[in-house]
Symmetry: C2
Subunit: 218 residues, 2 copies
């Protein structure tokens, strides 16, 4: 019985743990980005913006490590596929960090005002909660390889799409009186949250495929 | 003198050629997407939308081939790095196809009207030309590994950013009278073109790094 795990297995586990770390980092990031946006908190916005550099460095270090493992261990079949998939997941997660960063930049440019008018505070706050939770769930999916949980991420994304449609419907209603500048901000913000959730779905689908060998039902 | 090239070298060249093909496909796609948008051409919009499925399939086939080469040839150092980079470039190019597809979906939803009002036709047409040319240039960069040309792509991206700012400044000018719906469309369209160019820059930078071992000056 091989109770002693191989160095290679340790390395694969290390990669998986780093992806979990990245998912948690981008979950924290979107939480703070949303807060900075709703509360017009410049200090918090700056924090998210500079934290994005840390996320990028973490991802670069992880990617180098993955390529180094492929070069040294020369894995084939499922191990190689897992490592290539890890590279793709790290790219998705890094992009989620970028999107949180974009959101905080909108908060910063509108400071001391909030980029989000009062009537949309609840909806945008809710988008932030969905985003934060989806990233946390993705961390658990990577760690547990739980395919049922991976499928749940698609439902969270549906919730995000619903909230996004709510934002657009407020912007295009006849009662909208905050002007075009604000509509532009909110169109972009809606898009950033939506893309954030899309990348989370992408990570969950990659885990699903690795575990089952099949694509997740759309 | 090794005048007979190895099977491995042939395979690497094949990957490079497929990336060139992909870049040309997404250049055609954005050209048609822009036409469909300006001329409110539903038939052309549908063509771009269905063509995106072909681009996706082409990319999937390419990615499988790259992973298969890594598994069989077990390359190290620069060859492995080139193959991993090819995977990343194919993801960038596939995303450029998605963005052309998004643009055509805006054209489709506004048909029989044009999503772009007359006063922005020239600017959006110009964005389309910059996008089409940047993808063509990227094809040449991949093929020739010409680092000077790779740096030129950054300048084309600056031109795209300038056009994007022009769109936003028209939307936010006091003379804008096309309403919020149209402003939302144009905000998203501007974003799609801008992201398209960003991904082209990303591909060019990857080639630059592969050739020189250094990051392109920002």
């Amino acid at each position: 019985m091989a109770l002693i795990r191989s160095v290679f297995q340790e390395e694969l586990d290390g990669v998986s743990q780093s992806l979990v770390d990245l998912a948690q980092m981008v979950s924290d990031s979107i939480h703070k980005a949303t807060q900075s946006l709703i509360s017009a908190d410049l200090h918090l916005a700056e924090e998210v913006i500079s934290y994005d550099g840390k996320i990028d460095n973490y991802q670069h270090e992880l990617d180098s490590r993955i390529i180094d493992i492929i070069a040294r261990q020369q894995p084939v079949a499922s191990d190689l596929r897992a490592l290539v998939t890890a590279l793709r997941m790290s790219a998705d997660l890094e992009r989620m960090g970028d999107l949180a960063h974009h959101i905080s930049k909108v908060a910063r440019v509108r400071h001391p005002n909030s980029a989000v008018p009062n009537e949309l505070h609840d909806t945008v706050r809710q988008m932030g909660i969905v985003a934060e939770n989806i990233a946390r769930k993705v961390a658990t999916v990577i760690e547990s390889r739980n395919t049922l949980l991976a499928l749940e991420v698609e439902k969270d994304d549906d919730e995000m799409d619903k909230l996004h449609r709510e934002v657009i419907s407020v912007l295009t209603s006849s009662s909208w009186n905050k002007g075009v500048d604000s509509a532009i901000d909110l169109t972009l913000l809606g898009r950033y949250y939506e893309r954030y959730a899309d990348h989370a779905v992408s990570v969950a689908r990659r885990v699903y495929f690795l575990v089952t060998g099949e694509y997740a039902p759309a």
